[in-house]
Symmetry: C4
Subunit: 226 residues, 4 copies
Amino acid sequence: MAEEDEASRRRYSLDRILAISDGVFAFAVTLLVLDLFVPVLSSGATSVDLGQALSKESLSFVSYLLSFFIAGVWWNAHNRNFGFLRDADSKLRWLNLLFLLWIALLPFFTKILNQYANLQLAVVLYAFDQAGAGFFMTLSWWYSSRNHRLVDRTLEDRTIRYITLRNAVAPLSFIVSMGLSFFGALVAFISWFAMVPALMLIHRLERTTESKQTDTQTNEQTDRQE
Amino acid sequence: MAEEDEASRRRYSLDRILAISDGVFAFAVTLLVLDLFVPVLSSGATSVDLGQALSKESLSFVSYLLSFFIAGVWWNAHNRNFGFLRDADSKLRWLNLLFLLWIALLPFFTKILNQYANLQLAVVLYAFDQAGAGFFMTLSWWYSSRNHRLVDRTLEDRTIRYITLRNAVAPLSFIVSMGLSFFGALVAFISWFAMVPALMLIHRLERTTESKQTDTQTNEQTDRQE
Amino acid sequence: MAEEDEASRRRYSLDRILAISDGVFAFAVTLLVLDLFVPVLSSGATSVDLGQALSKESLSFVSYLLSFFIAGVWWNAHNRNFGFLRDADSKLRWLNLLFLLWIALLPFFTKILNQYANLQLAVVLYAFDQAGAGFFMTLSWWYSSRNHRLVDRTLEDRTIRYITLRNAVAPLSFIVSMGLSFFGALVAFISWFAMVPALMLIHRLERTTESKQTDTQTNEQTDRQE
Amino acid sequence: MAEEDEASRRRYSLDRILAISDGVFAFAVTLLVLDLFVPVLSSGATSVDLGQALSKESLSFVSYLLSFFIAGVWWNAHNRNFGFLRDADSKLRWLNLLFLLWIALLPFFTKILNQYANLQLAVVLYAFDQAGAGFFMTLSWWYSSRNHRLVDRTLEDRTIRYITLRNAVAPLSFIVSMGLSFFGALVAFISWFAMVPALMLIHRLERTTESKQTDTQTNEQTDRQE
């Protein structure tokens, strides 16, 4: 009975964090649609006129797609991290809210980036928002996994370190890119894509280490969660 | 214990996909309400004045109803497909997000269609959005059901094929209608309704095949899920 | 195993309907906040100036409160009805979507009513929206409870009839009020409040019938669900 | 079987309240993003121009952060209170809706406060909104916990009193601050921060009382829920 109550309390704590998170994500991925305007044309307008009017809005479409894609990346990362959690507490609730703060700001900074892609400040602000989201996501994971505070006791330390490393890549890369932006907005922009090989390298290393060991449980765990 | 953990992980993966999906759908079906404006009338206005002012907005009302109805169709299809799933992974998460991308764009393209219903481009764009949603929904199902990757092992191949076929009807029809739009917007518009008999025919064929067999389990499965 | 699968399928069907419903309700009760504008005052403005500027917006506040309250009434009724359901199917999904359609329109019609409370048409439109919501809610319940289609087999026919009657009061009253509006907007407005004694009378009658019987199970059922 | 049904009914009642609450909170914490506007600059604009244009909007950013933070405080308090509940009824649904009413209004009153921080009325209105939210949250808890109406029977009276006291601090402080505002907006503003030591004192007192007793169950309960 008492054990059941405890399980139900844990379930409740996690469920509510997930509910508000998915709500904010759903809102964030659809919010930019409000910036797409139906062109107002004269009554004799043709398909060509409509096409031209819409193409002037192409920036908004790119902005929408980019914002949707990036929110998707964060949502997937959030999915992965929280899939390991078995409990939640007040501190995690706040760390997660602080992560969501930057997610909710995504549409705004994406719009600035699209409109002023050639300006250093636009790139820096965008990287700042990403670094902010990444920082609080990494902190959430670090807090939850440290001493197996909120994760399963059977979760191996190696898996925890691997996830921590994966989490840290994004905020670190974006902070570095803020410095690189002094060499031009394009340099910073390109540096963001350096994260992909970095993450692949970490994944490869993790694999190599694991395959040397008899116990492949971690391997399976990581695979499934991803 | 381990089995319970596995069941809980599967539950978690699916629940989060459903949470963000239902959030986006709830947002999409209500978003168009923001386009309905309360008419501003002079102080001595009568019911007739109000009626006339509102009738000028009739386009927005039709747009709202159409968008609501179509989102409802996709939500039902999403319900049916995901009802068969027992697990989710990162790839499905992305395929589903790409499906949601087109759902979130629905209100925008519906408005264009209503405003420029006589222009070929408006019809093509609308069909393009529908085809996009249908393509990623079909792909989601194909990915999940192939080799029973994320569906129940006991789900019959015949049922899987039937659902695949049903899923494919919408994107294929909308792509064809984009070609037909060259014969006039109306031709394309009419072709959309050809989906209804097509779906009924598939349903009929599925029934006939089944009734020839002793095992009627599939029949029941399909019935319940719909 | 098969029984467990069936229970899980039912859970899934209901959960998704509730998810999209609560999403639409959450959106509807907060949407009107967007219509409250912060007054723009000159730099030397006092508290009195701010107060006067806000009091000019009092209409929007009343509109917000009214809309919130009515959405709350419908949400409670939705809660009560769906608390009896044990399963859902495609038809119920559509009936519920058609109910949500009128809920999503609530903020719009409330604004019209507040702005043109003296015009018959505003009152008629508002009553029309309420009647629409009530009609599809009653239909949802009628469809679900008929022959115990989607409700618990042990649910007594008397309870079903009582809930049906309760559901029918709102749409019928609003339709009648549309006719009464020809005697003035105020008459229609007052007639809405006639629902309160009507619902109390039905509740009283139900009680009296029950107390004459030995079996008080229904009584308990109804009490708990409310 | 009957016991299982009863547990499922309780689960259902609570789940729906939580669903609409988390929906409103997710909406409230992201709504202010709509007030952040991307500055429109001439084509030859530099990073300095963008920076200056954005700094003019700093008010909106502060407003956004403040609103996000306060909504987070209420969400956490809501989390804590509802974590103790085991059931819900129609009255709690309404008390919770009345609480959400003030949460949905938060963005509006935060904007007024930021824009007219020097005016007494802005401070009073803001405190009024907070007092409203706090009042209905306290009432919700009082109603639920009285005679263990909706909480676990094993929950100790001391814990209930402690939670009641914690809940009452916010509304009482905000009402007092409305009086203090006559001595200047700043006095009221500072008085809000007096809540922090008040809450810490209550927490300390609760601890002291507990440690004198053998049974430390309450202590654990309270710890976990926070």
